[in-house]
Symmetry: C2
Subunit: 144 residues, 2 copies
DNA sequence: TCCTTTTTGTTAGTATACTAACATTATAAA
DNA sequence: TTTATAATGTTAGTATACTAACAAAAAGGA
């Protein structure tokens, strides 16, 4: 057992990371895109290359609850950043699609996120980062 | 540069960790103590052994903003979990003290947090955890 | 001294996170 | 088929996080 409060430390870094992202200005209709909005746009853009993306996929991908998903997506839809359409195959599902606006923003957003990732990882070797990511993955499993 | 989105992964684990803590019931006046409230109680209890604790200390310790500190502490004070008293030496500072209630809860809270830490760290060696914590510390510095 | 800057804390408004309770559709079991 | 269960999404209420603008006290410089 470590004496280091790892959970608290994780929370700290996670807070700082989101804050950093938000400090890179990226405006749509006068509103600075939030960290979550940016990450969701990237996630949908990439995943929808190969498959349909539904709301439930965000739960697993970001480890958040359904209710949180609903809230964030309602706001994004209102802002014209995505569209939610009921699936014809399964009436429970809502398929997510980016709008022209958010598709056009994708490249910039991805670059922004990568820049912040680069800051996060300054001075760490590729090997260290892979090791780190493996441990994170194990922790994620432990907590589920 | 990793292809792994470390920031997102960090956020995921951090979410799951808080959720886990909150799922361990710990009631005071009919309200389940939140993860942040628990962590703050432990932090104040430990630090106040050797020094006065002020609101500003929470900013650094948890990597949150002043405004967040104010909000959380106002609620905790209202619930009778702590007291904020202006410093006689420096009129800007507010000193934090636990109440009898939260002092009495401390031992249980600490045990709860340690249990969740233990889940987080299942199947990982002491060496791995120290290494992991070192990387986290570097990341925290990178982002500040 | 007086003026400026820094430090600390608050408020208002908003986004993201949770739980709990609910509705609806799909699936499984009887 | 009918009934029960599971999966998906919504709503309401609350906690925690942010930025921006503010106020007040302390520290520093002229």
């Amino acid at each position: 057992m470590t004496s280091v409060p790892l959970g608290k430390q994780l929370k700290s870094v996670s807070n700082l990371f989101s804050r950093r992202i938000h400090q890179i200005p990226l405006y749509h209709e006068g509103e600075n895109l939030t960290p979550m909005q940016r990450m969701i746009i990237v996630m949908i853009h990439e995943r929808s290359q190969t498959q349909d993306v539904f709301q439930r996929d965000l739960e697993k991908s970001f480890s958040i609850r359904r209710s949180t998903v609903t809230g964030v997506l309602q706001l994004m839809e209102k802002r014209g950043l995505l569209v939610r359409e009921p699936s014809a195959q399964d009436g429970r599902l809502k398929r997510l699609r980016l709008t022209e606006t958010s598709n056009a923003l994708f490249a910039i957003i991805q670059k922004n996120l990568q820049e912040t990732e680069a800051v996060l990882c300054q001075g760490l070797t590729q090997q260290e980062l892979l090791f780190f990511s493996d441990i994170l993955a194990k922790m994620e499993q432990n907590l589920r």
